[in-house]
Symmetry: D2
Subunit: 432 residues, 4 copies
């Protein structure tokens, strides 16, 4: 995590203050349950809730000596609570606290990521409707194919992020479980009722069977999901990078007056935000593999997952949060150039209508092979003229073509509206 | 894909015969819809259904010339259908066929994987109940921790694969969509009704917005899910490898009479199946990254995803199918040694009860620090005696301990049943 | 491995025939050494060399029963050799044969990859010199920056693949070792002299210390290197894909007369080869992670690496061989359009000279900040005019600019040659 | 990067102070070269060297406004240098500074990693000689195979880290290049002599051909190499984790008096350092993929690599530095238990001699199949007796065995020394 690519709300989840606060709540709620069970006196729970507090610096100090973070926390807590502190953590293991805390943190992180996605969806939707009918070139293989609209491009992105949102919701559900089951998950020293009580209080579900730790397939699924979402961030970022290329220039990241695109070349306006998003996507995807490798812990648990999660827990959620937010800003303020879109669309002398002509020839009775040959031989001339020749002109001068399709039938085939007639249908599917 | 790690049913999905059959069905169903729309004559659809067939070898032959698989298929189909063939594929693009076909293949592959998981779950459940109450050592960090039962170990695996199953169901849903939307997804040359008809006939949902291709975030999620499942396969395989270690030997892969464990060392019985599963898990996880990289196609599509999917589509599903099946066999026939489990459990002179004694000291009024120190100093002697000394003997000889806990109170703390009292609770959570 | 992305020479290395032939040679050479050591009779070695042969089908048949490939091979070999066969494999373990064989296969695969790289380098060099002085746009962030030459673009690729070649040579060296050291690498049952003899005969070095297996850090380094080379393949492929975009069209993959770019759109000429290379690069990179995970085998060895290598050994070398060869063909026949390059270069009204003007203003005495501001404010007008305005015209009309640089000093700053004066220097560095 | 897994020397390389200092040196050395070339006045260079300094906080302040780190640095520098500052950075681009700086940082990081490896090698060597002749069980598949020595286990690790060291040296060489070649690498505005001068002054080689940036295949190779080294760290860590398992307990991480292994179970001594190393290895490996994805930048450069490197540059080098250092400490203080090794070695009733007996039977004239059958049938009885039966006793009671090998010939086959006779040979290979 580096400040440059971080937002405070997500960072806060991962700060010691927040972590210890969650630990405190888990321990205190557990005491309430233990009181109910008659295991600890009611006064002890009361003391913890009333006098319980902690200081990060003091915990650090103790940890330097004990080399055990939970023990350091409990020691610091005891300094405030007093003798009743000996009932804290009764029958629990460190992992009961650590793993349940991680669940809370990941669930909160997921909440932010879901909210980020909602903001992104809102931005995409607004711009999509704004340009629902703005004709633009559809490209396959980077090559002009057939017309589409800029709104449709954004509708695709919208539908993709709706899926991402659903995946994040599922990932959150995967991870939001509570385990307070003791050293190997048998509840030997702690009643299952404690787990149930803490789970409810912390808005988690209970882990049906744990083994000191919450099983790491849950976390693997969580981080894998972030990797998929990062892929979608990269897709939309890549689209914008392409559109901003000098020769295309159909859209541009917002460029503030006075901004410097390059220290050396004053003329530059670079898509640096979306390039940055491409890099951030690589990072978030890179965290997937360590998370997958974390699943196969030894027997009831080993601690190899811990260092991995200390890094990728914050790094992946902070980075993806930043990326989603940055992407929202990019979309929100994106400079869109309909004139240039139209200019590009018309650049290739009508080639974009080649399929329709092919179909018309077939429907007029020409064989598929002949139709293809007739269109291709004229299209290639246009192609090689770099758009100087017009396909329509060549076709009407080709008697083999006009034998099947006279000029009057050819002309309407070059109508742009033909390609855009189902835009509303698709918008209804996506946004309804 | 190599035969050694393949099963015929899954392989069949990926064979040319199956692929072309799906293509045929897509094309033929599309024609039915085009007939309904009045775009092509009813006779043409009838001709396709009645006379349509194909030969893999002939398609290969044509493809060597045209270098285009869909065109080769259509040409071969036309050889059988005759002149009505010119109505086939009307207004469609190759991707309409290819991507919808891939959806069908992945959905069928998912069905097999789900069935595999069901078989695995059944095997785990049977063995779990068989050993519900078989005491065994619970280990954290590879070190004896506290007792559990072998049934609980398997219950954990069961719960994990129940989650895997749910993930596979979700992954199947992600992928089971149909796109017949034309060159850039605008339905310019084909009515959306065709897509709807084919989707229904092929048991798919419609893709709300496609761009010649079905968006690859769906496939990324699918392959990422397989990677997570592979992680769970590795976890259970690793458990068995550990249990079969010579010094542990609490369970063994079935070893057939006459089987040779090693060409050089006739005494060997190696956990080769679960080691193999560990390797297969690496492979399936390795396919996740290319799938994630496939998401960010250029503009409406580029074809970089295609070679990736030609490889990882079969490789990941065939490998995971084989792995799940192999794991089922391993569990089903696993040799389980309760006597050895008990022997290991008792190996460390009662150290496994250390937490309970710690708690009892605390509850008797000793401070947490003192309690820890008292138990640890006796436990370390047992530890260093390699199980020759018994913790109980040392404790009753330690006056600082007996000051808090007299012998009569110490004795019942060494009861194994204490650890197993919630087994039924957990089984109810997992299997109910 | 699928035929579509395979070349026969590399495939042959991985076929059973080749593998068994290497096994045979290892066993026979080992016998020669054992004869020298007096361990086995000279006749036995003679018998093996003279009568030793094998049949793949027969080995398969035996393996189906014994489930052990080396035992199956030895049994089949014995059927031909007769009683002297009992001296074959004396004191050896299967891994001695398997691992040394894999070394031979990977070394041969590396030889082909190195030769592939040589062919690619030759093609790049030829085209680089052909276009050493062809001016073309240099682009950072996809945005016009300053002029370069097409030869320089290729010189960069050349230097990169020279590095790739050196890495492949180093990777080959890493992997070309021989281990014949017995069950745990102690040479208990076989003298180190056998290893030395076989190593020399098979053109390998000896493995200083093995543990039944050759350590897998060597293989990890090998496959990681292939992943890096794949990255370089992707870089050059991506460059060509960009150059072929309709709006750029400065180069094109060769398009054969009669070729069909799209079944639906007869006008299309798509960069499908380089898109394919992008996908193949993803695959080769995807094999790196499993290879890295193979390093940490348990104790003296476990067999988890084996299934991984059975897949990625062939898949990564075959795919990269195919990719390098395909890329060579693409470069060799690449259609290059100098006119279009020049047209694009001039497209932005002289903006490409902005840095030089900035420097000239600074050198004339303007502050860096003022200079930047003056150039940028004029450059942005050109930018927004979409190349309709010329930077030169605006500058000479800006009195703040001409106060520092009069027209006569501005004019020569727009000289293209200024940018190309060091082309020979760079070519000397790269190709000398 | 988190403090818990960081060491100050490596962290320092990546701190702003260090980075700006390198920037300063690059700029100042470049000025010297420009003076020599007559491009800038000698006084300007002198002023920079004499008055040039910077403040991190001030640069941050400026950057918040300009959003460009190099411009912020230059502005701050100018505040100290005065008017001569306008000659600083003459003809250079930001990347000239940034990329050359990254080379210096990575080279310095490599130096530390190489020194770390040297320290690790020294520790391994010392312990290897200490236990050169300590017999211990060699295990394949986690199953007892044949005897080896603990020194040989460490000799293997030594040889592996010797290879790692060589790879780090090569990786350092890959990365230690300098590029000062201008906006697209043509040296349009800066003479190649500047690059040569700065390269020499900063102990780098010149980059033969750059394109504003140093090509990222170099960095990919660097980070891939770190991933391989991490794999070797994991291998040795895994070995120790296995040896510390309760049932094996042949070695243990050092456990300080008063240390707490578990907050709940006072008896625990867990291999937490090596488990931690396993996790850290996953992290370092996880950074390989983003580095590989960074290679294919668009055209002359895009900036997608930048965010990746800002994270993985520090994270991978700091983590690996920490891991190598921690592993050195683990080896250095490792508690090694020769008695327990011998006890385990003898645990399986002499099964570890099975191969030697097999060979002796063959050499006595029995067929390979018969020999195998005879040894296996007795070995399996020992196996199933859990080491209660002795192989020797069973063999001498098996008339089919004694028919080939009478007792007097069987007895010497159970000699441990037989397995250790080549230890010196291997030590000479590894340490000579």
């Amino acid at each position: 995590m580096i400040p440059r690519y971080s937002r405070p709300e997500m960072v806060a989840i991962w700060e010691p203050e927040a972590r210890y606060q969650i630990w405190f709540e888990i321990e205190a709620h557990a005491m309430d349950a233990l009181v109910t069970l008659g295991v600890v006196p009611a006064d002890a729970a009361k003391a913890v809730w009333e006098r319980g507090k902690f200081e990060v610096a003091r915990i650090d100090e103790i940890e330097r000596e004990t080399r055990h973070d939970v023990i350091a926390f409990l020691t610091n807590l005891a300094e405030h609570v007093g003798p009743e502190a000996r009932f804290v953590h009764q029958g629990m293991t460190s992992s009961d606290v650590l793993d349940t805390c991680l669940s809370v943190q990941l669930a909160r992180a997921a909440d932010i990521l879901i909210a980020d996605t909602d903001a992104l969806l809102a931005a995409i939707k607004r711009r999509a409707y704004e340009h629902k009918d703005t004709p633009t070139m559809g490209r396959s293989h980077g090559i002009h194919a057939e017309p589409t609209t800029f709104g449709l491009k954004l509708a695709q992105a919208y539908a993709e992020f709706v899926r991402c949102r659903a995946r994040l919701v599922a990932a959150r559900e995967e991870i939001a479980t509570c385990a307070i089951s003791g050293a190997v998950g048998t509840f030997a020293n702690i009643d299952p009722a404690v787990e149930a009580h803490v789970a409810k209080a912390m808005h988690l579900t209970i882990e049906p069977v744990s083994t000191q730790v919450i099983p790491r397939d849950r976390h693997a699924m969580f981080f894998a999901t972030l990797g998929v979402v990062a892929g979608s961030v990269e897709r939309l970022a890549t689209e914008i990078r392409h559109l901003q290329r000098t020769e295309v220039l159909e859209a541009e990241e917002y460029f503030a007056p006075g901004q410097k695109g390059s220290s050396a070349m004053p003329h530059k306006r670079n898509p640096v935000l979306t390039e940055n998003l491409t890099g951030l996507a690589r990072l978030v995807r890179g965290y997937v593999t360590p998370a997958l490798e974390n699943v196969a812990l030894w027997h009831e648990r080993d601690i190899s997952h811990s260092s991995v999660e200390r890094m990728i827990g914050p790094d992946s959620t902070i980075t993806l949060d930043f990326a989603l937010h940055r992407l929202t800003g990019v979309i929100d303020k994106l400079l869109i150039y309909p004139d240039r879109m139209l200019k590009n669309l018309n650049k290739m002398g009508g080639l974009i209508h080649s399929q329709r002509i092919l179909l018309a020839l077939t429907q007029a009775g020409a064989s598929r092979e002949d139709s293809y040959r007739l269109v291709q031989r004229n299209a290639m001339k246009v192609w090689e003229s770099d758009g100087q020749l017009q396909l329509f002109d060549l076709l009407i001068a080709d008697p083999e073509v006009t034998a099947w399709l006279p000029v009057a039938q050819l002309e309407p085939l070059f109508d742009l509206g033909y390609h855009l007639k189902h835009v509303d249908t698709i918008f209804n599917r996506v946004f309804a």
